[in-house]
Symmetry: C2
Subunit: 294 residues, 2 copies
């Protein structure tokens, strides 16, 4: 008897968590991830790995969850489902480096099952605070390479969906320079599972070289300030629009695990000038009008 898709996905996210945590700890000579397991009152739970105040990472969370139970009624309606029963598992990570020269990154890969429907979702996206075009190209082309074996149309499609999803609508600008985003992949699930693994496995090769190349660069006080202000926009997106965050808060998920995505130190200035240099102007343009990176 073959193992269920559900169980294989749980196994995959657990192993990916270990792999990513161990890759990140190589940058941290004296700080380890804190591991905490939590139970969800409605069913299931999760394992959070969070590192605070490391050498490179100011706050880094690599969390997995395996939850099940009943969805609140408004979510049953939103998912157009006939049942409130659900099972969900996934890995979600957000890394906030100290240095504004090293971009923030987010990735999430998830599996959602209801009696009448099963789907995969996920993606990865980069939020830089300094111009580094080659790194942005590297990030996107690594994700493209992960998508291409499953169809040449996938990367362009999911790149566009990412630009649309991570939009701070009230500012008509993006959170960062995007990546890929997909949701409700429900046909041909075995092949979709292969696709999700291909994307998940591309996270470290997409991001780690960017950390290596930029971790020792000097930065100015203003570059740090720009990061703190852009982190404010990150908070605006996550608390006002992010479906994962709001789903977690509405389904009584583990608050600390959900909100580990929020940057550790943030500035909200009134009418802040976000274009005080050529680099800031370039970034602001790319946030306003997403461009192609490959």
């Amino acid at each position: 008897m073959s193992t269920s898709l559900r169980d294989r996905m749980v196994n995959y996210v657990k192993n990916l968590q270990v792999e990513i945590v161990s890759a990140l700890e190589k940058f941290e000579p004296s700080t380890k991830f804190q591991k905490k397991s939590w139970l969800r009152p409605g069913g299931g739970g999760g394992d959070s790995c969070v590192l605070s105040n490391g050498k490179i990472f100011e706050k880094a969370g690599v969390n997995i969850s395996v939850v099940d139970g009943d969805l609140p009624e408004f979510l049953v309606q939103k998912f157009k489902s006939t049942s409130s029963k659900f099972f969900a598992t996934g890995i979600s990570l957000v890394l906030h480096p100290h240095s504004p020269k090293v971009p923030t990154v987010h990735a999430n890969f998830r599996y959602f099952e209801q009696p009448d429907r099963t789907w995969f979702g996920g993606g990865a996206d980069l939020t830089p605070y300094a111009v580094s075009e080659n790194d942005f190209k590297h990030f996107h082309s690594t994700l493209k390479k992960a998508c291409d074996p499953f169809g040449a149309d996938l990367y362009p499609k999911y790149k566009k969906e990412c630009d649309e999803y991570f939009r701070i609508q009230h500012r008509d600008e993006s959170r960062g320079i995007g990546g890929i985003f997909f949701d409700y992949l429900e046909k041909d699930l075995e092949s979709k599972f292969d696709f999700v693994q291909s994307c998940g496995n591309s996270f470290l090769p997409a991001y780690i070289p960017i950390v290596e190349r930029n971790q020792n660069l000097k930065f100015s006080e203003r570059e740090k300030k720009f990061q703190l202000l852009r982190r404010g926009r990150y908070v605006e997106f996550n608390l006002v629009y992010d479906r994962g965050t709001l789903f977690g808060l509405q389904t009584k998920g583990n608050i600390e695990s959900i909100l580990m995505s929020l940057p550790p130190v943030v500035n909200f200035d009134y009418s802040a000038d976000m274009e005080t240099s050529e680099d800031e102007k370039k970034l602001s343009n790319w946030f306003k009008t997403p461009r192609e990176w490959v």
Copy 2:
């Protein structure tokens, strides 16, 4: 011919803005409020007065708006109205002092008119970062005095509504120690206008003595840290739950005026311990279980 209620409310909020700005500037020897007028694309506009990095106030916004036009369809439905036409005016203020010994305060008084319905709303609430029971009593009893001439039942009712409204639901705790909150006051509008003015006029006497008494108190590094962490909760409430903030973002209001409510510097730590002292424990208890102050 008597002047319309709408015009008298506009006049009232304009005068109240001038009065409050001038009272706050007395604390600021070398920093003035920046005044900025903005136009709303759909109709009307506003005047923002914001002070940044003063001696006492790290960020203080006292804004008024006078807007009109068409509500988006989902708000017409929410308000159970037969028309999308609306007119709204109000004053909204949020003051974030540098010192954790001086509480953050918020107040808002508003008038909303549709062809088939007109109502007032408003309130004032305090968010302290240090224990100062006499000040909390003073704040509440000043608001109570403003309510009492209009009915002895009003303060207890609006105090309770305030506790319910400013609830960070996902944490099951309040943003601060409350005050009063009322909405949809639509009967006997002339008397309601008197009530709103009584509350509006009580703002300065409720808050200013608290600034005077606490502005020069020394504080520890941990007390400052606690403030930065509690400010994170303030952001969580405003971006996830606050109706005014979400209404503004959804109706294409002036982003900088709406988000002036966010604290200037904020910390979001993972699993932060919020009860490291007797004072923090006291505050956390009051946030969890609102108590009576008069």
